[in-house]
Symmetry: C2
Subunit: 206 residues, 2 copies
């Protein structure tokens, strides 16, 4: 297909497709003349991925390029590649702290849950910041809540991993998009589960 | 205590405390002279709440005022009050859609889960937007994933509700802060549970 058809198929303006080509986020089409090229379904899929990364996932073009490089060349250490890909996602990790134990709350929580973790993984800093903010507001997470939340997170992670594609390129893509795009689904479902539980036990006007 | 001690106790600059007084987010102290007043522990607690709402929770001063009004006057219909309080939280609901069925994906999901819900509750629009974004990226939520996520959300909500204070003022405060401040905890725990599950089954470099 020609550029105009590609743009229409991907739901993007032609100028945006040209921009992604210049920035190297989209591979060149097959040249059919000095100024013309044709594109295929692979280009459409790639544009959908770029659109998701720079749209709902919220990455900058530079961050999207990092993810795409990992999708294109996942290498042999898939565990490390997936960790780096997820590390590009917002929220940004806290600034590195120059301390002997930079993430004391997160470390204690993960040890209590018995989880394996890499202290350099961005989510450790995120957990530390989230636990500190809750504590600061007088709603520190106690052991029972940690177990309840940790068990729910483990159940979801087990499901997510059960769907991980075996093909490495697809695995990186699924991990990045699935991590980011299912987060707001989970949060909305939690708020709606609150409503469902509350309607059964709280006083309401007729 | 005096204003300076109050500010120090709450971890805020004096100018910020004065601003909250002027804006009516903090109740006046007990006057001890023409230009002096003393404050008590109730003022400290209130400032901590305001600081959480306008800090990690991310509300504007106007939104915080709405929440504080509901904390101060929860009224007799606690279910409705809690829904309104949570409705002030980000992310903002989608703009009202002029359609016979504005939230088809969310409706189908909630009916599949068998949950009671109010279509005007902001989380319904949030769920619709989140489901649409996932679908658009080629990662539509299927029935099995919906059940897995829905069950986890229900487990968390049951725990959260089990801790709901019986005193209405405290219930509004807990609901708003707990909804907002535990969300990043849950998301970080999910990413860390992914890492814990992945380390057990993916190839890694030595």
């Amino acid at each position: 297909m020609r550029m105009s058809a590609l743009a229409a198929e991907a739901g993007l303006p032609v100028a945006t497709v040209k921009y992604y080509l210049r920035e190297g986020l989209l591979h060149a089409g097959t040249a059919t003349g000095a100024t013309q090229a044709v594109y295929d379904e692979g280009h459409v899929r790639r544009l959908r991925l770029v659109r998701a990364l720079t749209g709902p996932v919220g990455l900058s073009v530079q961050q999207a390029r990092t993810v795409l490089e990992l999708v294109d060349e996942p290498g042999g250490d898939l565990y490390s590649t997936l960790g780096r890909a997820v590390g590009t996602l917002p929220p940004a990790g806290a600034n590195p702290v120059e301390a002997a134990d930079p993430y004391p709350r997160a470390r204690a929580a993960l040890e209590a849950l018995g989880q394996v973790y890499d202290p350099a993984f961005a989510a450790v800093a995120q957990l530390e910041g989230a636990l500190a903010a809750a504590e600061d507001a007088g709603l520190a997470i106690d052991g029972e809540r940690l177990v309840a939340y940790g068990r729910a997170a483990t159940d979801i992670a087990a499901f997510d991993l059960s769907r991980l594609p075996t093909e490495p390129h697809a695995a990186v893509e699924y991990t990045v998009l699935g991590t980011a795009l299912y987060e707001p689904v989970l949060l909305a479902l939690r708020r709606l589960a609150h409503q469902d539980a509350a309607v059964r036990r709280l006083p309401q006007a007729d």
